[in-house]
Symmetry: D2
Subunit: 243 residues, 4 copies
């Protein structure tokens, strides 16, 4: 049975700025979805949803049928309804995988799951990013070149205010000397979370073959073994006789 | 300069149930504060605050002057104002240490910092708890017996829905066969967090010498090196010439 | 292509003690191999090797063709040649998965990979072990009952002298009140390591359906994505022009 | 009572290469010891030892009286006697802190404690290293500038083949675009380990004020709470009556 991936995008830049639409004519979600289909073929069914959809396209039913959710947001974080964020959080805790992308570091869902500000230093100067693998045996790094280069990117720099990640998969350097933990994983409840920073509305990063491979690897890795999402309940069990 | 510890307690059981007041005549906060003073002497200045105080006793000024906050809550979690919770979170991220105690696992501040439900299994049957040290070199375990026994306790059991802790310091077993990760640490922002489960309103656990030693060790461990609380800001630095 | 699992056993108890042979007539390795075949069917090819085999059955060629090695040893740890241990370590660092079982905690390969004594407290009194899942979303816990019970087992207790594990999957309690981190994972190089303590020569633990399920899950989880084992080399790269 | 730090250096470059002696006239150990004394004043007693000393200056008695050992080695790793390495490992597991510096990544003691190859990529081209703090609340980062710059350094690059560290404190970038996890911590047994890569025989890095501050912070952090070193023993406790 194939993986069910859902690519969520606020889809604001692409619909309001012609120069961004020129880079991502199908939207950022369209480019990411295309990349997943290209990399994973019949192993994946890809759907998309955006901020403008009813309930942002993230109804209870849609989430229950999602194995891995990918999240791209930037200037619309505040427009995401808290009730939807709580619903997404519940599904992640119940086992749905989550890939948070680039400026999604400031999304409500990411900061809520991590508990920190998720702040960072940034500069938009079309600098070169070099992405180094720090965990070459990790499934997310499978088939990734050491290093790979993105010619023009927004610069993200430390300190990145996140909790200690479970696995440290990628670290990037930028032309200006900055470093950034660009690929890190977390577990929350039964859900696996992968944050990956390369990707911006002003640069065609989601067409980069290595970035596409990382995202495809990430989707495979974050998919739950059991497909049903099961949120923990507090229980009050009677004392048992174990013999 | 001595450590500034602040013991916060909802103080509801003690003020509404005579049988609890009999166990904790000075309130749970009073017993904990007494224990810290007894263990740390002049190394600590202990203050207390409760839910009924204006702003729950957790004003900006009070928090700015606190090195380590201890948190006991149970039936009053919902009565804690969100604005105060956000303020406490900001101070933890800025460096204030936090000890979350027993039923505080369901407090707003703990679930917000951890991002999970923090649910667990429980049973109130006055069972024996045996507390085992799993990190004997950890500062919080300093001087603690292997194991120590609490004769009567509420039973807490796995699965405890928390993220992977930084350090796993204590694991308890209970008469009924349950196990529980009873002492675990986390880092959020600059703040160090220690969760310790032994302690309940119905049992005189906060008078137990080993429990008092653990809490004193925890306060020492969670205290920030730099006393000012510094919340991260997103920054937009210009490219520098490093030569 | 199916997983290639290799079950290694010192095979001393079974060949020298009639009462152990009565429990494990095909050897402990035979019982484990049977369990893997039963659980994983055509997804796995299972082979076995023992201490008495030339080079302990762990030649360069055999290891190069192994995805996951399972290790059971007890009274023969010292008889394992250091050259073979180094070879196994090299393959683990290169990506081969490793499951270390029960008394294998004191094997040369485990202590060498972990760097600690791996000591623990123990008592052989046919006590009941209750195995609790602490990471219900982990692939190794897939389909495992919360908790499952082993009626008679050797007791292992904390402190278990291991480094902080990557994931804490199972914790056991014993009739005598002991607790033990009975299922923990580590990464070393590209290799994934799972230590699982249930299992002893005197009790038919490797016939227990839940134990068999855990081992099968562990083999799946520890298998490398890329099948070739690649040990890191120190490199001296010239400075590159990234543009 | 003051901390007892012992700076160990193979002291080969300084005694055999005039140009290195010109940089470190008191030896690398001398420069490091001077820095610790300068930073920690009366809080520390600093001693030094070198490869040429009887038993490399690391007798049972010396180690028993050491709170934190600092280790610098490069071309003499193989000359360190295995018996001394085992002794140092035993003391680390028993609680002695250990700071491993720069090319010490390939020392017998470090690879033995970590279990991996500890290999990395390197290039000696007097490149600029920028050291970024990734854990600003960590005691080792106390008072450290974000970032600090070392004008000329040997370049170390990922992949650095180490296990997942406990804490990720510093990451460096180099002029050639490399990144390196330059400050990481581990726990082994009761011992705290800090690896810090800045520092080389060809560059006066151990005179850099920020490097000196990091090493002083590291010594404070790695010091055990209890001064006696206690190596775990396997124990066989009888079942106890806990009531």
């Amino acid at each position: 049975m194939s993986l069910r991936a859902l690519v969520w995008n606020e889809n604001i830049h692409e619909t309001t700025q012609e120069e961004i639409r020129a880079i991502y004519p199908q939207g950022i979600h369209g480019a990411i979805a295309e990349g997943l289909a290209e990399q994973l073929g019949e192993d994946v069914e890809v759907a998309t949803a955006t901020l403008a959809d009813p309930e942002h396209g993230l109804t209870e039913e849609v989430l229950a049928g999602t194995d891995v959710l990918l999240w791209w947001g930037h200037i619309g974080h505040d427009q995401v309804h808290d009730a939807v964020v709580e619903r997404v959080q519940r599904h992640v805790l119940g086992g749905m995988g989550l890939l948070v992308l680039h400026s999604g570091h400031f999304s409500k869902i990411f900061t809520r799951l991590l508990g920190t500000t998720c702040s960072l230093a940034w500069r938009n100067a079309a600098e070169r990013e070099i992405v180094w693998t720090t965990a070459p045996g990790h499934p997310i790094a499978d088939g990734i070149e050491q290093p790979f280069v993105i010619d023009h990117q927004e610069t993200y720099g430390e300190h990145f205010d996140i909790p200690n990640p479970d696995d440290q998969v990628f670290i990037s350097s930028f032309e200006g000397g900055e470093v950034f933990r660009s690929g890190v994983t977390f577990t929350r409840g039964r859900g696996r979370i992968f944050y990956f920073s390369p990707g911006d509305q002003e640069y065609p990063v989601y067409f980069h073959p290595q970035v596409r491979r990382v995202l495809a690897n990430g989707v495979r890795w974050a998919a739950p073994v059991a497909r049903e999402h099961v949120t923990p309940d507090v229980t009050n069990p009677a004392r048992r006789d174990w013999s």
